[in-house]
Symmetry: C2
Subunit: 211 residues, 2 copies
């Protein structure tokens, strides 16, 4: 079983090793930064869900989701919807979609291609990750401080952003769950991370299954 | 200077060593779990602020703030406004107020006394922490997993909750800033933490200064 899983991972990695050049950047429509449900009701409805319809998110919903998560809320200063240690903004969000993995480029409102192919199964150990439309991968950079600080701040940074995603999903009728159960090393290789970068958490987003 | 600061800390610690029995539990009014501003506007206005009026928060505002942070949103299951690894809920919120330090008891809607005296200066290294009305102290318990997981999950858990506090403050017109710069050991001693517990982050909350 472990051997079959390792072979499966290798096959996925071989696919990812193909150039990402065949994938084009995806332009995101400008985010809608008004509206949404009242905050306290959204907090009351915030919940983890592990069942997802396979339908992709419309581009406008994806754009709004990413802006809520970690978008630029104050263009003059480049500050964002979530705080960061010393405003270092040492966090990247990668997205595993059906056709490949992309990097969220908040400044240019686009998704930059990273790896071609359906690599969603690499983002977790539970079956739903392979078919849910979006898996967000939170990757920490150099946070500064001690090795312990690095992990705490990386965790916190992923936490701030993940909670924004939870609340956006509660407001917009989407299902989501944040996960720590991920094989970090193979995923880091697929993303071609630099030595200082680390996969912290992964979060699945999609529509709830139709009844 | 370092010696004077150490003496200052010792004086504070000696004060905290006095029994907390002279402090009474503070009953919180039931939280108002409806209303608030629309989510996307709240995300747009979320910001860190390091200037606070000294005025205490009214009990209703404090109750709403703590419920938003880490309250019980689903009484049937005891689930909360922020997620936690394996739903372990391995996080406590302590509050350093002007008269002492308290533990947020979400199930009984009260603050349990922990240490008597104005110990707010122990919660950080910046001057404003000593006079702002509320400093929230996020303390992680046993998260499970490796030592690395423990720090990542503790950080993430504090991050989920802290972002809820940020958004509540943006909705309610309060100022707030989350901080990693805290002398964790003296604070852990004052709180009388168990060996598996760890101070992760601290967050200051209050009204913005009057203009």
């Amino acid at each position: 079983m472990a051997k079959r899983f390792a072979l499966f991972l290798l096959t996925l990695l071989a696919g990812a090793a193909l150039s990402a050049q065949e994938l084009s950047p995806i332009a995101l429509p400008p985010p809608q930064t008004d509206g949404g449900r009242p905050l306290m009701q959204v907090l009351r409805d915030r919940a983890s869900s592990r069942a997802f319809a396979p339908d992709p998110l419309p581009p406008q919903v994806l754009s709004n989701l990413l802006w809520a998560a970690w978008g630029i809320s104050r263009p003059d200063s480049g500050k964002r919807t979530a705080p960061s240690a010393m405003n270092k903004q040492a966090m990247d969000i990668y997205l595993a979609l059906a056709d490949g993995i992309y990097l969220y480029d908040a400044a240019h409102q686009q998704l930059k291609p990273v790896a071609k192919g359906d690599l969603r199964a690499l983002t977790g150990t539970q079956p739903f990750v392979a078919t849910a439309p979006v898996n967000l991968i939170y990757v920490s950079g150099a946070q500064g401080g001690s090795a312990e600080d690095q992990l705490i701040y990386g965790g916190a940074q992923a936490g701030f952003i993940s909670e924004n995603v939870y609340l956006f999903c509660a407001s917009a009728g989407l299902a989501t769950v944040v996960r720590g159960s991920v094989n970090r090393e193979p995923l880091a290789q697929t993303l071609n991370l630099a030595p200082g970068q680390k996969v912290i958490l992964v979060q699945t987003v999609g529509y709830p299954p139709k009844k």
